[in-house]
């Protein structure tokens, strides 16, 4: 029990809020941290 609630309830709450925020913040940082260079279609650049 944590603050009167079972740990499984906290886990569900954490999965909902933490999961959503973690995915979102990772996306936000990636997109706002600078647009990645468009992927080159030139195979030489990947060698």
């Amino acid at each position: 029990m944590i603050l009167g609630l079972p740990w499984t309830t906290w886990l569900l709450l954490l999965a909902a809020v933490g999961g959503g925020l973690a995915i979102e913040l990772s996306f936000y940082r990636r997109e706002r941290g600078g647009t990645p260079e468009p992927r080159s279609t030139d195979p030489k650049e990947h060698s």
Binding site: L3, G4, L5, P6, T8, T9, L11, L12, L13, A15, A16, V17, G19, G20, L21, I23, E24, L25, F27, Y28, E31, R32, P38, R39, T41
Partner: protein, 488 residues
């Protein structure tokens, strides 16, 4: 309860909505302006508009009622909605925006027709049937809720309440178009956000604090504080949790929500909007469930758990805030109705009249048709609501899930799987929609009330993938998908 105070709050709210309609009217004079606000909307507007369109009065009355009735088992709904909203912005929004800008699409059928080179307009006609049937019923049900809310709070009589609500919605939606809808959604969303922020805090304080609420409920029924609730770790409990999670996955592909991504000014606004939308939905859902929990501690034994929000607003707040909470409930309904009306109008005017029958009509005339269609569909829904036609409630059972099941599997496959074919997508739309409807009618009660969106999505994906594997994808579709990805 002080009626003059509540009426004053309502009048101010109605006037603001009318002013938004007038302010937006200039942009509603061409087709793209009327249906997607010229694709110029900023992050705050698309973020709040997406959440308020997805959340009807069900959020305020239904989800608080869930928190009251099933306790923290309702957190499965919160999990599904937060993950659904997050994934819709992180995974769907940018490629969908890139594709629809490339095709100059302003409706989801526009996108599907271009993506699958559908020269026979099958997607448009199929979408028209699905959207019109679902939207008319859903709108009628929301108007019914508005009429009942007016009558409950102000004793206006049910019919008068429906008339007032419908008149205001039809005015600002038809005059201001999508811009008015989106900005009014922002206002309505902010009201809903504040309401669901304040209500649980006041509820917990009034009940004596966190420990008092949790201890009180623990003594009454400790299962209400566990994830599986009273059903426990049983088949019914697990199916209930899966169904609750499934509710949120409609955010990935319901057409009324995808329209918001199309209407964004650019991809930068979508990225900024994603953070706003995710934080907003967290507050919406957590606030609603915990408000219901506090309500159970304060007002145990209610015959109808969905009355907990009106009861808390009347008992815990001064009259002016009771009026504000009525406005918030109305706002939740209105923000859904206006978006659905624009969606249905676009299915008729853009997808059928302009793209199939009368491509030569002027922009101003088409936008006028859009306004007229909005009013006609609204009037039809009004007639169903005022006549209290029982059939509409049968349709509403699967309005949200039917729209999502028809479009989501197909849209997701079209965005991420190169092999998706036109025949596969058509089969997926039909199978997803019919599976959701047939499940409600014939199977749901025999399978522990499994939520119909689960079989709807399963059938939609299975049909799209299965038929796509035995048919040929459109010419250059694979290269096109690579080009879209390269721009992201």
């Amino acid at each position: 309860m002080s009626s003059p105070t509540i009426i004053a709050v309502l009048v101010v709210y109605g006037l603001v909505l009318i002013a938004i309609g007038l302010w937006s009217r200039r942009e509603s004079r061409n087709v793209a302006g009327y249906f997607v606000a010229g694709k110029k909307l900023p992050s705050w507007v698309i973020a709040f508009s997406t959440n308020t369109t997805g959340e009807s009065a069900w959020l305020l009355l239904g989800l608080t009622g869930m928190g009251y009735a099933v306790g923290l088992h309702a957190l499965w709904i919160v999990l599904g909605e937060i993950i659904g909203v997050t994934m819709s912005w992180v995974v769907v929004a940018l490629p969908f925006k890139a594709y629809t800008d490339r095709y100059e699409a302003i409706t989801v059928p526009d996108y599907l027709e271009a993506r699958f080179r559908d020269t026979r307009h099958i997607f448009r006609l199929l979408s028209l049937i699905i959207i019109l049937s679902m939207v008319t019923a859903y709108t009628a049900a929301q108007l019914t809720a508005i009429g009942k809310a007016f009558d409950a709070f102000l004793a206006t009589g049910y019919g008068t309440g429906v008339i007032i609500g419908a008149a205001i919605i039809l005015y600002y939606t038809s005059v201001g178009g999508f811009k008015a809808v989106a900005y009014s959604d922002l206002l309505q969303g902010v009201l809903m956000f504040l309401g669901l922020l304040v209500l649980p805090i006041v509820g917990f304080v009034a009940a004596g604090g966190w420990a008092a609420v949790i201890n009180g409920i623990s003594l009454e029924n400790p299962a209400l504080l566990t994830p599986m609730g009273e059903l426990g770790l049983s088949v019914r409990g697990v199916i209930s949790a899966i169904g609750f999670v499934g509710i949120g996955f409609a955010f990935l592909g319901a057409p009324q929500l995808l329209t918001r991504f199309m209407s964004a000014r650019n991809r930068e606004e979508i990225v900024k909007g994603s953070l706003i939308a995710v934080v907003c939905i967290i507050f919406f859902d957590i606030g609603a469930v915990f408000a219901g929990l506090a309500g159970r501690s304060l007002f145990p034994g209610l015959a109808d758990p969905e009355t907990i929000l009106p009861i808390m607003s009347a008992e815990l707040f001064p009259p002016i805030f009771t009026g504000v909470f009525l406005v918030i409930v109305l706002a939740a309904s209105m923000s859904t109705v206006d978006s659905l009306l624009i969606l249905a109008s676009s299915a008729v005017v853009r997808d059928v009249i302009q793209k199939i029958f009368e491509p030569g009509l002027s922009e101003i005339r088409l936008s006028l048709f859009g306004k007229l269609t909005t009013v006609v569909i609204g009037a039809l829904a009004f007639a169903l609501a005022i006549g209290e036609v029982r059939m509409i409630f049968w349709f509403v059972l699967f309005a949200w899930s039917g729209l999502a099941s028809a479009f989501t599997p197909v849209v997701l496959c079209s965005l991420f799987w190169k092999r998706t074919t036109r025949a596969g997508a058509i089969a997926g739309m039909i199978a997803g929609f019919l599976a959701a409807v047939i499940w409600v009618v014939a199977f749901k009660e025999h399978f522990y009330d499994l939520y119909e969106m689960i079989p709807g999505f399963a059938a939609g994906f299975a049909a799209t993938v299965g038929v796509s594997l035995v048919t040929e994808p459109p010419e250059r579709a694979a290269e096109e998908l690579d080009e879209v990805r390269a721009t992201m």
